[in-house]
Amino acid sequence: MPECKCCSKVYFKMVKCVLLEQLQHFVNQLTHSVASAHLVRLYDRYQALDKDNKGYLCPQDFGAIKELAMNPICDRIIGAFFTSGQEILDFPSFVRILAHFRPVDKNRPKEPNSPDPINSRSNKLKFAFQLYDQDKDGKISRHELLQVLRSMLEKQVTEEQLESIADRTIQEADLDRDDAISFEEFRKSLDKVNIDHKMSIRFLR
């Protein structure tokens, strides 16, 4: 990796061209078409986030984003990028996570045997489910729900009210009465919500 900043910029530009072609193919597999212009923008953004020019991103880089730091669930969002406790995020993984937020392409014909594209409704919901389910046991326990509620509601509510709200949430969704919300129950409780509308960024169309 070159030491001085100007050389590293040139280096990255060269790497970018090679990388982008490979990436195009990779991302096309994921989402069945991404405009290369978007990829270029994402790559520029990736580089801008990588302040020390390491070539990869670490959680501190995310923490340095000012607006993100004010988000009540910022740790969970950062955690969602760095799956399985890794400290290194390369560009393909970065794109992979962000690809969840592409709007669903309604015009694409459905191929029966191919897997769901990454931005399908159920994959979007799985991503959201992960934000709750930190211990990855496939269920949102009451404790996990309380944690999320606490971070979202912060100083506005008493502990009692938080507990009651958590209880009510579980009671509404929990169909097999195991006092936790599984992914299926989660999905069912969000049946009436237009997830595609809520979890899409036009930037990535």
Binding site: L42, R45, A48, L49, F62, I65, E67, L68, M70, N71, P72, I73, C74, I77, F81, L98, F101, P103, A128, L131, Y132, V148, L149, M152, L153, Q156, V157, E159, E160, Q161, E163, S164, I165, D167, R168, T169, Q171, E172, A173, R177, F186, S189, L190, K192, V193, N194, I195, D196, H197, K198, M199, S200, I201, R202, F203, L204
Partner: protein
């Protein structure tokens, strides 16, 4: 069956009273001579009637009474309101009354004066609309709404004006002396979609909220465009020549009118919010401030020649959250009730007067002109909607479907605003013809389009609105998704919708709320509010079954000491039940008008309550205590 006729007979009796009174007003009644001039001729009378003394308020009250009784009558008659929208029925009553008055007195009945309409009848309706506007949905669709309101209205005005001019030049209708500017003026007043008519019709057809807000928002915001164009063309007609500079001034005027109305509204809204901060010791007059400030904003904006509707809507939207936080629950209920009542009365009066004013001496009928105006109005609206939607769909996440577009085009109803504007203008030659045409267009849109839109909605299977509140889970998860999307947008560096919403929320919490809301009133998150609202409604459902029997039970429960921090599920349940009883105590009065935005259906709340109690009973065997508690509390109502 006999009951059905009573309101109608009472209504007709009031008609006759009205006629008698107004006819007696024409014949001079014997005025008792002043005592100073005569001595001795003056005899003491046991009983005398002095109508002149009370004439003005008496007649006003009679009209309002007529309108309200008519409305009452419709709701009693069962099947008719399902087919014919209320606005049509009211216009028909107005036509009837107008016809009777004309027949008896052989002169034209009183006409809805433009001043009375714009200053007294329109503001309550718009205030009510603004106060209950679904804020989030409105702002999410604001771009599209502005697109339709501004560009759509411009398109319609120019289209109708130019094509009518062209047709009149080509056709032999005796209108050749009417210039292009006159037609543009006419186009500007007839092209605008009317919020009153839209509200009254769309309220009954329950389409999905997005469609509703698009049409309704457009009808509110196009007022700015209409006002500017109308005044512009009127002033052009008075000027001897029109130069390019004048057109440019017109364009700047449009921006000024819109933004001016907005800022006047903002100013008064914030002022109202600030004032309510100090009303803790005089809670009874708190609602009065709301109405005063809103009306002031409307009047100020009209005085400055800005758009009054925009001012009052902005005022209502701005002050709502702070007022609701500052003011007591009873005052909140009062505000809502009064708004609904006044807007209801206004709307009824407007439609009745529309009917009455149709009976005129001044009509001038011309088949080709009227039919072509009607046709062109529909044509240009449809084309406009199609074109604009094609462009705007590329920028929206949620495309506006063809069915929605059809409803938007078909729901472009004209109403009393066009009517008043056409009466107000002095610049139109052959004014009678234009008045007749306007009336025909209004009646056509309200009757034909108003009546057929409901079956069309069903036929086209337009997505209907959800009639229940979101569940707490939905609210929480949606909130989480909002935060997630906001975070992702920050990561990607994209300033999307969520970014601006977040920024506004931060500004709001940091500065505005601290300044405008009383210190002791904690701003509650929408999740908590929703949860409390849901629980409260469930309690109100129980309330309606047996309030009196319940009160001793409530008092019993209140003497229980406040529970400590919960350790187990059953103590949590006990807390839930005591908390619920506390909410119950605060919100005793139930408001159940069907037109309130938070569409509360008793059945839905009762069903969810039953479900909850059932699930509570089944889930934990350890909560036997709670179940028995619930049973204890419900048995009093069963004994009723």
């Amino acid at each position: 069956m006999p009951k059905f006729w009573i309101p109608f007979t009472v209504t007709y009796i009031h008609f006759l009273l009205l006629l008698l009174d107004t006819s007696s007003a024409l014949t001079p009644s014997p005025i008792p001579p002043p005592p100073s001039t005569t001595h001795g001729n003056y005899s003491l009378r046991l009983f005398s009637v002095d109508y002149h003394h009370v004439q003005a308020p008496f007649e006003i009250v009679l009209w309002i009474m007529l309108a309200s009784l008519a409305k009452l009558g419709f709701h009693w008659s069962g099947r008719i309101p399902a087919v014919v929208p209320e606005s049509c029925l009211l216009i028909m009553v107005g036509l009837l009354v107008g016809g009777v008055i004309y027949g008896v007195r052989h002169t034209a009945p009183p006409v809805l004066s433009a001043e009375a309409f714009f200053l007294y009848l329109l503001p309550p309706i718009v205030l009510d609309a603004g106060y209950f506007l679904p804020g989030r949905l409105f702002f999410e669709n604001l771009g599209t709404i502005l697109w339709y309101a501004v560009l759509g209205t411009l398109w319609n005005v120019l289209g109708i004006g130019l094509s009518l001019y062209g047709l009149c030049q080509l056709g032999d209708w005796g209108l050749k002396e009417v210039s292009l500017l006159h037609f543009l003026l006419f186009g500007s007043l007839i092209a605008a979609v009317d919020p009153v008519a839209v509200l009254s019709v769309f309220e009954e057809i329950h389409v999905n909220e997005q469609l509703h807000i698009l049409v309704f928002g457009e009808s509110l915001l196009n007022d700015a465009v209409t006002v500017v164009l109308y005044k512009l063309f009127e002033s052009f007609l008075r000027m001897s020549s029109v130069s390019g500079v004048d057109v440019l001034t017109g364009v700047c005027q449009f921006v000024l009118v819109g933004l001016g109305g907005l800022f006047v509204g903002l100013f008064f809204g914030l002022l109202a919010a600030l004032t309510t901060r100090f009303t803790a010791r005089a809670q009874v007059i708190a609602p009065l401030f709301i109405f005063l400030y809103s009306y002031l904003s409307y009047l100020t904006s009209e005085m400055l020649q800005f758009s009054g509707i925009m001012a009052i809507v902005t005022c209502a939207v701005t002050m709502k959250q702070y007022v609701e936080a500052n003011v007591s629950e009873k005052s909140n209920t009062t505000i809502k009730y009064f708004l609904k009542m006044w807007s209801s009365v206004s709307e009824t009066l407007i439609f009745i007067f529309l009917g009455v004013s149709t009976i005129q001496d001044v009509h001038m009928w011309s088949w080709p002109f009227i039919c072509s105006t009607l046709f062109l109005c529909l044509l240009w609206r449809t084309l406009g909607v199609l074109l604009l939607t094609a462009v705007v769909n590329k920028l929206r996440r949620n495309a506006v479907t063809f069915r929605d577009q059809f409803i938007i085009a078909y729901g472009g109803l004209r109403g009393a605003i066009c009517f008043s504007l056409v009466f107000l203008t002095n610049e139109l030659p052959k004014k009678n013809l234009f008045i007749t045409t306007t009336i025909v267009v209004i009646l056509f849109t309200v009757f034909v389009q108003g009546m057929t839109i409901k079956p069309l909605v069903e036929l086209l299977d337009v997505k209907k609105k959800k009639r229940v509140l979101p569940t707490v889970s939905e609210e929480i998860h949606c909130r989480l998704l909002d935060h997630l999307l906001s975070g992702i947008e920050d990561v990607v560096g994209y300033w999307g919708q969520h970014y601006w919403k977040d920024k506004f929320e931060q500004f709001n919490t940091k500065y505005l709320k601290r300044f405008l809301i009383r210190e002791d009133k904690q701003p509650k998150s929408s999740i908590v509010r929703l949860y409390q609202e849901l629980e409260r409604r469930e309690q109100m459902g129980e309330d309606d079954e047996g309030r009196k029997e319940r009160s001793p039970a409530i008092e019993e429960n209140q003497t229980q000491s406040r529970p400590l921090l919960p350790e187990e599920m059953d103590s949590i349940r006990r807390i839930l039940s005591t908390n619920l009883r506390n909410f119950n105590n605060k919100h005793i009065t139930a408001y159940s008008r069907h037109t309130l935005h938070q569409d509360f259906t008793l059945d839905a709340s009762r069903k969810s309550r039953l479900r909850r109690h059932q699930s509570l009973g089944e889930r934990h065997s350890s909560t036997q205590t709670h179940v028995s508690q619930v049973q204890v509390l419900t048995t009093p109502s069963l004994h009723s």
